[in-house]
């Protein structure tokens, strides 16, 4: 059978120089704009910084989740792409740095950090055992430590395997990934609650963590999908990868698009049905002024377009379609975070200007740079993984 590969055909090459060039330009431009933004409008910058932080967290954690779930599920099809997810998980290293400005501007972002406001507010003071600055600082630091420790161990084992080809490393990673999962579930839920839900500390939604999780996985998947298709077309991955190998990426993107819509709609419908003023104000804030159009746009951008774009079976394997849809979904996730965060800052109407563009540019630039950095020092394919050959030969 001529399409089956029994030996590995991988030569390590550097990524196209564009990665570094575009990454550098975007980062420098972004950094200048971000610094200028903090001088001209610190409050708006702090909110943008939060969007920036959540975007990096989504991509890093989403990629980390994909790595762990591959080990736990024993997935074969994804092995040729796992290293891409591992590189993207390195974005988690940036998360603590991106979080520093958020901590310096806590009072602008979260009104529960003002002790006088909390003292006068019965609901906030009863929430204060959880919502207080020092506890938030401790637990967020703990979450980041957990993410980075698991990132270090799992990707470290994977990297070691490139040389040693030791199968026990896979077994080890399966166990570590299984331990990571409950930590992942708890930390992502509480991180979403702390960073975004507590922007409106009177409001609560028990599905909020799951909502953010669905977006996180989508963002991680979309980034992996885009890079997988792009790098494979440039011939930087192993030989023998065909559109069949993409199919599950497309299918998962489609599945999580539906999952996001399911969760988002469940949250909306329950609040709409119960019609309790303590819950509905959050949606009303996103329905006032021209936020209405952003909210309706979210439905189109985050659900309708990806849904029909990835509905048919051939579209889940078509490289062109996948590249477009994965970039689209990354944009949709950014849109979603913007929609979650910004109404607290600008109540009357949505804002988009050079400040938002600066933070976005910095985020994209940094992700490209960190990916390029990892790819220049490590193999882009997990060449020591015992499942790799089966993964390359995976056919529908």
């Amino acid at each position: 059978m001529n399409s089956t590969h029994h030996s590995l055909d991988y030569v390590r090459k550097d990524l196209p120089v564009n990665f570094k060039k575009i990454g550098l330009i975007l980062s420098v431009v972004g950094l200048i704009l971000v610094i200028a933004a903090y001088y001209s409008d610190p409050v708006r910058s702090a909110f943008n910084n939060l969007v920036f932080l959540m975007l990096l967290t989504s991509i890093g954690l989403g990629a980390m989740f994909l790595v762990a779930i591959e080990y736990i599920g024993g997935a074969v099809w994804s092995t040729p792409f796992r290293r891409i997810a591992e590189f993207l998980a390195a974005v988690l290293i940036l998360v603590p740095i991106a979080a520093i400005p958020v901590y310096l501007n806590l009072h602008d972002l979260y009104h529960w950090t003002h002790t006088d406001v909390v003292a006068a507010d019965k609901i906030l003071s009863s929430k204060s055992p959880y919502l207080n600055e020092s506890f938030m600082l401790i637990r967020i630091a703990l979450f980041m430590a957990i993410w980075l420790i698991f990132y270090k161990i799992i990707t470290g084992n994977s990297k070691k395997q490139d040389e040693s080809k030791d199968q026990n490393l896979t077994t080890k990673n399966i166990k570590i990934s299984a331990i990571f999962m409950p930590f992942f579930a708890l930390t992502i839920t509480f991180a979403a609650i702390d960073w975004m839900m507590s922007l409106e500390p009177h409001w609560f939604s028990t599905i909020y963590g799951v909502y953010y999780f669905s977006g996180t996985v989508l963002a991680g998947l979309a980034a992996v999908t885009f890079l997988a298709v792009y790098l494979n077309e440039k011939g930087l991955l192993v030989k023998g990868l065909k559109s069949d190998n993409y199919y599950s990426l497309g299918a998962l993107l489609f599945a999580f698009t539906n999952f996001w819509a399911y969760i988002a709609f469940s949250q909306y419908m329950l609040i709409w049905y119960a019609n309790l003023p303590e819950e509905t104000f959050w949606y009303l804030a996103r329905w006032g002024g021209n936020w209405k159009f952003v909210t309706l746009g979210l439905l189109v951008v985050h659900f309708i377009v990806p849904y029909f774009g990835l509905l048919s079976q051939p579209s889940k394997m078509d490289p062109k379609r996948l590249k477009f849809m994965s970039l689209w979904i990354l944009f949709a996730h950014l849109y979603d975070i913007y929609w979650l965060v910004m109404p607290t800052f600008s109540k009357e109407s949505f804002v988009f200007g050079w400040i938002e563009a600066g933070f976005l540019s910095l985020a994209v630039g940094l992700i490209l740079l960190i990916f390029n950095y990892k790819a220049s020092r490590e193999n882009v394919v997990a060449i020591g993984d015992p499942k790799l050959i089966r993964g390359i030969n995976f056919r529908l």
Binding site: S3, D244, F265, L396
Partner: protein
């Protein structure tokens, strides 16, 4: 016994890799009408056989969307057109509440329609006959071998050439498969009377056994329903009392606490002499307005003009602004509220004495709003 006709040439292979390789070479060799039989689905077979993407998805799409539309149309017709009804304070057309139903019906109709399309269109059910049925070849490929079957009706088919082609592929057990014209007679054997009869009897018997077993013989009440309490219910019999009624009359010569019997039940003229005991205060008028808006306004209208909100489901009452009603004494109106009149029932169980009088004060205020007295203008 009619003449045997060559249906196909079949060959067997030992491993999945071999059969995928064979399928690839067969399609490369220009054969169009051939099939591959394996004990389980093989990854990569679609590409090897160069099969176009399945069209079944279109059936799923069409039926799924018609499910969405019909669910929406049904609910729209029920909730907006036929029986417009306010539920939970939501609008008549509460789209978010409809979405789960639309979603479920979409999934259900897409799934069922896809299965039926596959069964009836692709598999041509109830045709259950195939020339390869009950052949040694079929027994092998449903056990541990991987088979290929090139049909005689293929344009490129040539008995000797194809035989050689299969040999070159490395196939073993190459066999000529025949079918006879009269095998068509067994095409519809699913509908055979004996078979269908036994199927029907089995289905009915199983259903009956399950139903009787679970709902009658083994039935245990899961917990005490609130409806089934050890108490006396109105309009039901009783073994406790000598007369067999569960409803009792009040003890002679007593009245309920906080209640006075209405003594003019059959004497409207006597009731006319009753005087409203309540003074005209804002609190009393407010109480009267609240009670009027709840109990009276559905038929009499908020302004007492007899403009019912019930869309003709109940006869409209006459206006409260007529001269007759304006000339009635408070006591006479009290009598109507207490005893009812024509189709209007008694409101004694809804309104206490004082509430009735307060409502009358409010009715008087409504009347004065349209027909003010000279003294009101001063």
């Amino acid at each position: 016994m009619s003449e045997k006709v060559l249906y196909a040439l079949t060959g067997l292979f030992e491993t999945p890799d071999q059969i995928i390789d064979a399928a690839e070479k067969t399609s490369d060799g220009g054969y169009k009408k051939y099939d591959v039989n394996t004990p389980y689905p093989l990854h990569g077979m679609n590409q090897a056989m160069k099969l176009p993407p399945s069209k079944l998805g279109y059936a799923a799409l069409v039926f799924g969307l018609s499910g969405t539309v019909s669910a929406l149309a049904l609910m729209y017709w029920m909730a907006v057109i036929d029986y417009a009804h306010v539920i939970g304070g939501k609008p008549y057309f509460p789209l978010p509440a409809f979405v789960p139903v639309m979603f479920e019906v979409t999934v259900l109709s897409a799934a069922i329609a896809t299965v039926f399309t596959m069964l009836f269109v692709v598999f041509k059910f109830p045709n259950n006959s195939h020339p390869l049925h009950d052949t040694e070849y079929m027994k092998s490929v449903s056990r541990d071998k991987y088979g290929i079957c090139i049909l005689a009706e293929d344009e490129k088919f040539d008995e000797n050439g194809t035989l050689k082609f299969l040999e070159e592929l490395g196939a073993t057990n190459i066999t000529h498969q025949y079918f006879t014209e009269d095998s068509y007679a067994t095409w519809w054997s699913v509908l055979d009377k004996k078979f269908a009869g036994i199927l029907a009897v089995t289905a009915i018997a199983t259903s009956l056994v399950v139903y009787i077993g679970l709902n009658k013989v083994l039935y245990m009440q899961p917990f005490s329903w609130m409806m089934e309490q050890e108490k006396l219910n109105p309009q039901k019999g009783s073994v406790l009392f000598a007369d067999g009624f569960s409803m009792r009359n009040p003890v002679q010569g007593t009245i309920a606490r906080g209640d006075l019997p209405y003594e003019y039940a059959v004497d409207p003229e006597g009731a006319s002499k009753l005087v409203n005991p309540l003074p005209i205060t804002e609190a009393n008028l407010q109480l009267g307005k609240v009670k009027y808006d709840i109990y009276c306004s559905p038929c009499h209208g908020f302004m007492g003009e007899g403009d019912s909100r019930l869309r003709g489901q109940f006869p409209n009452p006459p206006s409260l602004h007529s001269e007759k009603v304006r000339d009635w004494t408070d006591g006479r109106i009290y009598h109507v509220i207490a005893m009812g009149q024509n189709v209007m029932p008694s409101y004694s169980s809804q309104l206490s004495r004082n509430e009735k009088w307060a409502t009358i004060l409010y009715v008087r205020a409504l009347q004065r709003s349209l027909n003010a007295k000279e003294s009101d203008l001063q």
